[in-house]
């Protein structure tokens, strides 16, 4: 065997503890970076791939006049790629006894020939089962939170009627937002069944794909052209809906996750890199004299370089063999986890070959890159310097220890402090890495707290317990009479509202903004002002917007008059306030004003129930009783929702991100703790001889042990302090950043007390372990071994 390789192997075997540490650090780093690379590759394409596979439409247009349309002629138009009817209605479906949630029902032209907005059979990419007349398919994500199953009937409420619809099979529709998060169920029926269930005619909604469109603007233009074309046939378009251009509705969640993965992965990698380069530098530092000898017996610099390069390559290869398969496994596991939550299929059955190439290259090149500075420095050293290496420079320590001496601290602590100060550069790196870990860990909790605050804001902004929204407005007394006998109702407030628009509206295709007409002095709205005030009375033409509405209308100034169109009527009102509310765009106005403009009959369309006993179980019982009352009533209900559910829906959208934040933050903390442990180990190993001297002059193992633990604790204390300080600005930034990324609002930055305590305890424990383990090892070395340590 090559003699140089023999030397490398010999060197690697001489200090197995340290080598194992390097390999361990490399494995952790490679594993982390590798799994992120793998899952990033899979997730980055598969959600989109799933979405694109459905051949999603660019626009949906509804009209009641489509019977005048010649679809075959429309299909021949050059700008039309594909077009078909896909009727759509929102109904309600029973998921559990007396629990009803929205049902999005699609009327499909031809299940045998799905060419646009395709759906698939459950867990596959083949065609779905074709439901017979009167049967329906339901989307698979709905099975997770309902008792629905294939082969048994589902109760569907359409208008005032309740119909039992047999579930013929389970489909998979990766183009929809996951039903689990939006708390709704998607179902698919043929045209005949659609009409039977909804009582509406079919062929009222067209879905369209255009040729040669690349942006939402181009889709908009094409759709506008189409509207004009329809007009020429006397077809009046009711709505045009243009989704985000070729993007899955929950792409934002994935983007957030990928960003988190990317940035945290980079950080973990950075910390791991620091750790590996430190360890290798420490190994090389021990080899300086040997380098001198090698050069003295005729080795050129490049020969020395080769030897250490080989050494690092061997380390990289060993780590790679272990880490790459692990990375592929865990990368896939994470991808499956996310795919499961976002309801899409992992399509990347096998990773592209270049991924393996990257991973192998990473395991070989990264350690080389990381140790290059140390190797270059080591090989550049001249023979004279190498042979006359005097060891640790003491000069800088002396000054500081004098200061410490004056503080009359316990002798042990002084010694620990001096030792800590000894390797200033390494210490700085260790503290920085650990502090960064602490900062990110704590920031994770703070961001989580910001999100929780948002949820409690949502909870506080609306103080009712159950809301019933009717499809059609009706007289108040008529609506209320069904609910008179129900327990646990403190009172019912009745509101009205509908769609409206403001004149300076920018997005012309948007179906407008929600107008909420309510008693101006209601106590069900917890108004938190961004600007201005709440409505002052019933007789003034005033409106309050929430921030989303304000954003939509380009942040109009408080005090200015705005022209609104409500149910075709014009209404001029002064904007008096902007509410801080995490909600869809809404404009609030006094009921009296609304009635005067658009509702002379004083109809209402929503009932806000306030419970006496607000405990979750009691409110749930109330909701079920309300459902029970609705069932025989013939009331046409859009939805019945508990305030707690509303909060839960938002929470469910954020949950995966919350979990991921804390998980990744923990990862960073662990990596930095491992970093600290190894830095302490290096420190102790380098001072093995000193331990021998200390022992020889009478230090007991207990003294030495305490010395090292004290040292470790000093380092962690400083790191924790710095980390917590750093987490402050970081949290402010992160709340803003994630708020914008996920919800397009800036989250208020919050301070998580429990997070602080957890961070403090976790880091102290990690710090304690990190110094305890190597310290225990240190005292096991015998005095003789310690003194002869090279």
């Amino acid at each position: 065997m090559n003699i140089k390789l023999l030397k490398v192997i010999g060197d690697l075997r001489i200090n197995p503890g340290r080598i194992i540490l390097v390999i361990f650090a490399l494995i952790i780093g490679l594993w982390g970076v590798g799994s992120i690379l793998v899952s990033y590759t899979i997730l980055g394409r598969d959600l989109n791939e799933n979405f694109i596979r459905t051949i999603p439409p660019h626009a949906a247009i509804t009209s009641r006049d489509f019977n005048k349309l010649d679809l075959a002629a429309l299909r021949k138009h050059p700008e039309i790629e594909k077009v078909e009817f896909r009727d759509f209605a929102t109904l309600r479906i029973q998921t559990h006894q007396d629990e009803w949630i929205p049902l999005w029902l699609f009327g499909v032209e031809d299940f045998n020939n799905l060419d646009l907005a395709r759906i698939f059979d459950q867990n596959s990419n083949s065609r779905p089962i074709v439901p017979k007349d009167e049967d329906m398919l339901i989307e698979r994500d709905g099975l997770r939170f309902s008792e629905l199953k294939a082969g048994s009937p589902a109760r569907v409420r359409a208008g005032g009627r309740v119909i039992d619809v047999p579930v013929a099979g389970i489909s998979f529709d990766p183009a929809q937002a996951p039903g689990t998060q939006d708390h709704l169920i998607y179902a698919y029926v043929n045209k005949k069944t659609y009409t039977e269930i909804t009582g509406e005619p079919s062929n009222q909604r067209l879905i369209i794909r255009f040729n040669n469109v690349k942006t939402t603007q181009e889709v908009q233009a094409a759709a506008d052209g189409l509207v004009n074309y329809f007009k020429s046939f006397g077809i009046t378009v009711d709505t045009i809906k243009i989704p985000k251009f070729m993007e899955h509705p929950h792409q934002w969640q994935l983007n957030t996750l990928l960003f988190l993965e990317g940035s945290i992965g980079f950080l973990a990698f950075f910390l791991g890199a620091v750790l590996v380069s430190q360890l290798i530098a420490a190994i090389l530092a021990r080899q300086i004299r040997q380098i001198g000898i090698l050069k003295a017996i005729g080795a050129s610099r490049s020969q020395v370089f080769q030897i250490y390069l080989t050494m690092v390559l061997v380390l990289g290869a060993i780590s790679g063999v272990i880490a790459v398969p692990l990375a592929v496994k865990s990368g896939y596991a994470y991808a499956y986890f996310v795919a499961n939550i976002l309801n899409f299929e992992v399509l990347t059955a096998s990773l592209p070959h270049h991924m393996y190439l990257y991973l192998i290259a990473a395991s070989l090149l990264l350690p080389v890159l990381l140790s290059l500075p140390a190797i270059l420095k080591g090989t550049r050293i001249s023979v004279r310097e190498a042979l006359s290496e005097y060891g640790i420079q003491q000069a800088s320590v002396v000054k500081k220890s004098r200061i410490i001496a004056k503080l009359s601290l316990p002798r042990n602590l002084v010694l620990a402090f001096e030792n800590t100060m000894r390797r200033k550069k390494r210490l700085a790196v260790t503290v920085a890495a650990m502090a960064l870990g602490v900062a990110i860990f704590n920031t994770g909790f703070n961001v989580q707290q910001s999100l929780k605050d948002l949820l409690s804001d949502v909870n506080n902004s609306m103080k009712h317990d159950v809301q019933v929204v009717l499809i059609n407005q009706m007289p108040k007394e008529e609506a209320l009479k069904y609910f008179s006998g129900i327990d646990n109702i403190s009172r019912i407030e009745t509101w009205n509202g509908g769609r409206g628009a403001m004149q300076n509206m920018i997005v012309s295709t948007d179906s407008g903004v929600g107008i909420v007409a309510l008693p101006y002095n209601t106590d069900l709205i917890g108004f938190r002002s961004i600007k201005g005030r709440w409505l002052s009375g019933p007789s003034d033409p005033e409106i309050v917007m929430n921030q989303e509405a304000a954003k939509m209308y380009d942040n109009p100034a408080i005090g200015n008059s705005q022209l609104l169109s409500i149910r075709g009527k014009q209404y001029k009102a002064k904007l008096v306030g902007i509410a801080d509310e995490f909600e869809k765009p809404k404009i609030y106005m006094a009921q009296e004003q609304y009635d005067a403009v658009a509702n002379p009959e004083h109809y209402i369309n929503s009932l806000m129930f306030v419970a006496k006993d607000k405990s979750y179980d009691k409110v749930l019982a109330l909701k079920k009783n309300i459902e029970k009352a609705i069932a025989p009533s013939g009331l046409q209900v859009l939805y019945v929702i508990m305030q707690a559910e509303r909060v839960k829906i938002i929470y469910d959208h954020l949950k995966i991100i919350l979990v991921t934040i804390v998980f990744f933050a923990l990862l960073v903390l662990i990596v930095s703790a491992v970093g600290m442990a190894s830095a302490t180990s290096i420190n102790i190993m380098e001072r093995t001889r000193e331990i021998g001297v200390l022992r020889a002059i009478g230090a007991t193992p207990a003294i030495i042990y305490n010395l090292f633990v004290a040292e470790g604790m000093i380092v962690s204390a400083v790191s924790i302090l710095l980390g917590l300080l750093l987490s402050w600005p970081l949290s402010i930034f992160a709340s803003k950043f994630f708020g914008n990324l996920m919800l397009e609002v800036e989250l208020r930055s919050s301070f998580s007390k429990s997070g602080f305590v957890i961070t403090l305890i976790a880091t102290l424990v990690f710090g304690w372990l990190a110094s305890r383990i190597p310290a225990r090892k240190a005292i096991k070395v015998s005095t003789r071994e310690a003194l002869s340590y090279e």
């Binding site: 030397k7 075997r13 040997q290 090698l294 003295a296 080795a299 042979l387």
Partner: protein, 232 residues
């Protein structure tokens, strides 16, 4: 006319925070091929510094060093390594064997670096050298398993691995007992008998008569240079 080893007005000073310390002062020195030279002097007199000039480990601040027609101080780092491997074998006082390689491995590594011995001849050469210094039976042990004297012999064998014409040793017997010291000194004398030029820095006060020449340094200058007529 030039000698085998030739120091011309060699000075070496070290500068540290505005203080200049002159370790070697205008040394003129000529050593011929096959000479057995001892360099003596008190601690700090500049012995090691002088040897470093000779091996190219360090360079003169002023003056030139010429060995076998090569201007040592002009060689760059990589050429110097090759030149040193081919021309000079070095033996130190402490820590010089690679602890993770066997004695044989240490010799093979030196030959591998320089590459002047054909690879199929290296193992035989290593064994021959180990036999010459009397430790062939330890060839496959790690250095730590050998006594100090045996380690020093191994180091000498390794210094001879590439068959250099010059052997330099810095206090090679500094921490050996007198019996072992004598053995090592005899080994050097044998090498001189085989045509090598041997230059040894030594503390030994009682000087062995085997040296051809004794150069005494004092405060960085040559204080005495005594040659002994060759008995033969």
């Amino acid at each position: 006319m030039s000698s085998f080893i030739q120091f011309n007005q060699v000075s070496r000073w070290f500068e540290s925070s505005s203080v200049r310390f002159e370790a070697l002062k205008n040394i003129d020195l000529h050593i011929e091929q096959g000479e057995h030279v001892a360099i003596i002097g008190k601690s700090g007199s500049g012995k090691s510094t002088l040897l470093n000039m000779l091996t190219g480990i360090d360079h003169p601040s002023r003056g030139t060093v010429q060995i076998n027609f090569t201007d040592v101080h002009t060689l760059n780092e990589s050429r110097l390594a090759k030149w040193r491997g081919e021309n000079i074998g070095i033996v130190f006082q402490f820590f010089q064997l690679i602890p993770t390689l066997s004695i044989r491995g240490n010799l093979l590594l030196a030959m591998d670096f320089v590459g002047s011995i054909p690879s199929n001849a290296r193992n035989d050469r290593a064994e021959a050298l180990l036999a010459q210094v009397g430790i062939l039976q330890h060839a496959d042990k790690l250095p730590a398993a050998l006594s100090g004297g045996e380690q020093q012999r191994a180091a000498i064998a390794r210094a001879l691995a590439n068959d250099p014409p010059i052997l330099v040793a810095d206090e090679p017997t500094g921490n050996l007992d007198s019996k072992t010291t004598e053995d090592i000194q005899r080994l050097f004398a044998d090498l001189v008998g085989n045509g090598k030029t041997v230059i040894v820095v030594t503390h030994e006060t009682v000087l062995n008569t085997e040296y051809d020449r004794i150069i005494a340094l004092k405060d960085g200058a040559v204080a005495a240079d005594t040659s002994r007529n060759s008995p033969q």
